[in-house]
């Protein structure tokens, strides 16, 4: 039999009132049994009223809205014909260090310009015939939420601490993932994939999500998003790495399981412009 609880707040209030009445009776008659029952009722009344989450949105609504935005971004980039590899920029490439942007070059083999050039580009977003375009990544707001949950800016957390702090916040606080593993290859021994074992500048992330699995699955159908900008969750990691390392980051490979739950992404530190 399925019991449907339609108004938990009302149930919590009812338990509280019953408990208070019971406690009054227990005090008047000096009886310990109603006192124990009343304490239990009061306690569960408080718990039921307190432990409810303030706002919840149905997963289907969340997925359908986020997928549309990703499709719009994909179509815009394809119509503007920016075909280069997306690069997540660290704060030094932007005018506002708190903002997050990705640089997409016009041509596939174009390199990343100097910080001055991207700052100028940011000031003139409608500049015609630009060699690249600056776009807000799909995980920008999620990264801001992550910073709020972490209680600090990602700029202040080094790459060394990220593998410990990010999974905990994403799994326990935001509850957006059920499993998350970050392997950095800075010391050349931590990477499990063959690529990370040989390359010094790669980060390998493996995560499982049920909350945004439909969005990640849909992202695989979008040519400009998948393996370039990444789905919103892969994008969050790229933003975090760019801020923590202070270096530009790009997504090298991204593998998503058929149901969209499991994701394996590899990030690379991009070589910077040298004058």
């Amino acid at each position: 039999m399925r019991i449907s609880v339609n108004s938990p707040r009302a149930i919590g209030l009812m338990l509280l009132l019953l408990g208070a009445a019971g406690l009054l009776v227990a005090i008047i008659y000096s009886s310990s049994v109603p006192a124990l029952i009343s304490l239990g009722l009061i306690f569960w009344g408080i718990i039921i009223s307190y432990i409810q989450s303030e706002e919840y949105v149905k997963k289907t609504i969340l997925n359908s809205t986020s997928t549309t935005l990703l499709t719009a971004l994909d179509e815009t980039l394809r119509s503007l014909d920016y075909r280069g590899k997306a690069i997540y920029l660290p704060p030094k490439y932007l005018n506002d260090p708190q903002s997050t942007k990705i640089y997409i070059p016009k041509l596939q083999n174009d390199t990343l310009p100097s910080p001055d050039a991207t700052q100028k580009l940011e000031m003139q977003p409608t500049q015609k015939n630009a060699q690249g375009i600056l776009v807000t990544p799909p995980g920008a707001e999620l990264a801001r939420l992550l910073e709020t949950e972490l209680g600090t800016s990602l700029l202040r957390i080094g790459l060394k601490d990220l593998p410990q702090r990010l999974p905990k916040t994403l799994i326990e606080d935001l509850e957006i993932m059920t499993n998350c593993d970050i392997q950095t290859s800075t010391n050349n021994i931590t990477g499990k994939s063959p690529e990370t074992q040989t390359n010094q500048n790669t980060i390998f992330v493996r995560f499982t999500t049920t909350a945004l699995k439909e969005t990640c699955k849909e992202a695989t159908q979008l040519s400009m998003i998948f393996s370039n900008i990444g789905c919103p969750l892969s994008s969050v990691f790229a933003i975090a790495f760019a801020k923590a390392t202070g270096k530009p980051i790009s997504i090298t490979t991204q593998n998503v399981s058929e149901d969209g739950e499991k994701n394996e992404t590899e990030y690379t530190v991009v070589e910077e412009f040298t004058a």
Partner: protein
């Protein structure tokens, strides 16, 4: 007859202990993906409640220990 609260510290301590255990176990085994339930539970708040109840229980234990020590002297 003056109305008296019928429970002593020991009774309250027992109630708190039992509740703390239930809450701690629930907060650990609760999954955020529990299907068709309409009661939305914030896992973080449940864990906070469990910890608070446990601390309250420990306070009652501390009071009892203090009473024993000072009762002897």
């Amino acid at each position: 007859m003056t109305p008296v609260f019928p429970l002593n510290l020991w009774d309250v301590s027992l109630v708190l202990a039992v509740t703390a255990i239930i809450l701690l176990i629930t907060s650990e085994i609760l999954s955020p993906y529990y299907g068709a339930a309409n009661l939305k539970i914030s896992k973080k708040r449940l864990k906070n409640s469990a910890i608070t109840t446990s601390i309250l229980f420990l306070v009652t234990v501390a009071i009892r220990i203090a009473t024993m020590i000072y009762g002897m002297s």
